[in-house]
Symmetry: C2
């Protein structure tokens, strides 16, 4: 099949093994069994993977919880146990913006993910085979409650702060609704109180690309035959909405790749090669069914379910101080939604620091524009 020549079938397991020799700082928390989920399903014997940095104070009052975007795992930063660079390495560590000399930082891998926590790729306790689509409907609220179980298992009743970028911001808000007294301080980074239709459309198309891939097989793909085509397209579409047209204009313009295309309609522009590199890295490193579940959870999440409007939902939280960071070039979680969050929290009585750094990198700015993001984070946490 000619069209597949550039789409090697790298399975999730193969890629995992290739990088699996690194040391691990991963810890696991067993969820209550059964763990009852928002839409009615339940899990037996489920667990959440997490990592920690810094030391819990004697008063147990210095915990900062990080809940993540769709794809990252719990390894937000390096540590003695795992010196590998984390996904928020520049943000988190001794003396950094999220200062592990002061804070006891916990980062959890989301329920439903494939990076250690129980999800659709995990073995079903009944037969040891992957859950696949037998995994119950997953909501952001379930992700939040599972994260809370990790915190509770550590004997922590109240968090110094909850930090949530992207989907993590939804999880943070869900947690602040489910356990208001435990969440007095909230950091929402490039997030939203609910998805608008453009974001719904993007994610729907990503899921459709995976579902239409014949190798998806209704979720029953083999470990070494992932729906690579669908995952490639989904990732490229993702990257297109994670960055910004302005950044790409400055970065790539109309520059060409150096090699001449040998396949018909092969990539010619540097922006195409950039997308290709992103897709290559992603395919095989994330389980397709997990992707589908988490993606849909983001679509379903809607703060307006709590009290009828987004604004009413903030009244049900007990947030005292909040940092809301949004970026003008974010097309997936547009700035107006950051404003809505800031205003809703303000109306609910919180002291809100609303920051809009001039990043050109769009939604992903929090992962790359540390020059702007780190000082904002450091200032907010420093004042707590």
């Amino acid at each position: 099949m000619r069209a597949w020549r550039h789409a090697p079938r790298i399975g999730y397991k193969a890629r995992s093994l290739a990088v699996g020799h690194r040391m691990s700082a991963t810890q696991y928390c067993a969820l209550p069994s059964p763990f009852r989920m928002k839409r009615g399903g339940m899990l037996h014997g489920a667990r959440i993977a997490y990592e920690t940095w810094g030391r819990l104070s004697a008063a147990r009052d210095n915990t900062v919880l990080i809940v993540t975007g769709l794809s990252p795992g719990a390894h937000a930063a390096s540590s003695a146990l795992d010196p590998g660079l984390g996904w928020w390495e520049e943000m988190l560590g001794p003396g950094k913006a999220i200062d592990t000399d002061r804070w006891f930082v916990v980062c959890v891998n989301s329920l439903g993910s494939c990076k250690g926590s129980t999800g659709p790729a995990s073995p079903h306790p009944d037969d040891g085979l992957p859950y696949r689509l037998r995994f119950p409907d997953l909501c952001i609220e379930d992700v939040a409650e599972a994260a809370w179980q990790v915190v509770a298992s550590l004997g922590i009743e109240r968090l110094a702060a909850v930090i949530g970028p992207s989907m993590g911001g939804m999880t943070a808000q869900a947690l602040a609704l489910l356990h208001p007294q435990a969440c007095p301080n909230l950091v929402l980074v490039s997030s939203a109180p609910q998805a608008q239709p453009f974001a719904l459309a993007v994610r729907s198309l990503q899921r459709e690309a995976i579902r239409l891939d014949p190798d998806w097989k209704g979720g029953h793909y083999a470990a070494d035959e992932h729906p690579v085509m669908g995952m490639r397209l989904a990732r490229k579409l993702g990257v297109m909405t994670y960055r910004s047209p302005l950044e790409w204009k400055q970065r790539f313009g109309r520059a060409r790749v150096e090699f001449r295309p040998c396949e018909p309609f092969e990539r010619e522009f540097q922006v195409e090669a950039y997308l290709e590199a992103h897709a290559q890295r992603f395919v095989g490193s994330f389980d397709p069914n997990c992707y589908l579940y988490l993606s849909r959870a983001m679509d379903w999440f809607d703060l307006a379910e709590y009290g009828g409007t987004v604004e009413a939902a903030y009244q049900r939280m007990a947030v005292r101080r909040a940092l809301v960071i949004g970026v003008e070039t974010d097309i997936l979680f547009p700035l107006e939604q950051q404003e809505q969050q800031a205003e809703g929290l303000r109306l609910a009585g919180a002291s809100v620091d609303f920051q809009t750094p001039p990043s050109v990198q769009g939604h992903d700015a929090f992962l790359v524009d540390f020059r702007h993001f780190c000082p904002i984070m450091a200032k907010f946490l420093g004042a707590l």
Copy 2:
């Protein structure tokens, strides 16, 4: 294959036959044979489909040429010969903005398309089988030159105006470069002098979705087995960039569809059903290989090839009056590119009317927001 249940394999021919009983106003112009193309290929016995409205004046000085976006055919509006509604019905007709009582209007189907003009789906003269990927490399300049041959065949040496929306604006600008004296008046609607990387990325991903579809078969799909999956995804991605997040927010919000989804991860939100309806209409009505060729032609087009910069290219035209229309909510052909066109034409000595109607419909506004677009067009043409 479960995932295909909602992707019926309607071939291009089947759909064409279903609507093929309407009367036709299509005329054909034989291109010079061979027709030499920009990147070195040539066509033998090629033709261009076109339609006309109104009457050519005795002085042959009242011709308005319309060159189209990627997918429309020559049937821009109804006529006595073909009462079916055209793709620009509201814009074009007796007493309308493009007033066929005054103008002799010619609309051509682009070279490389599948709506009557010669393209990759047309029979190769050597063997009567479709060209498919044997079709030579296609550039916007080839589309422009082929359109010019239609005009020349009608004995017209100079156009009263060339009107090009979207890709058609690129074609119009190419024509004004190739035949400057014939193009004193230009109307560029939601177009661009070259593609920026975001647009390159969108189209690259659309082409990849088609190419990765196993049914594409390197271009050798059967007439009744189109790469439906790829075309569906390509069209949905297209519609996402043709409209605007603002329009969708106003129009759909988070409203749900009425039926409950029966397939896993089936659509639930109205915006998903809207995309689905668009995809259903498109799949089977446009040839995938033609789509690939025209899409790439748009990527390749670059006014900066003519003199080193976009601005220099305008100096090589001989435009006296221009109307440039752009929309703030257009994410595919962003407003700054409309400004660049207006400014470039102005610097080259043209009198430029630059209009930015407050349309929320994004790139497609010219196809739907007639309340704003028609008066602007009428005023400009009326003053010629």
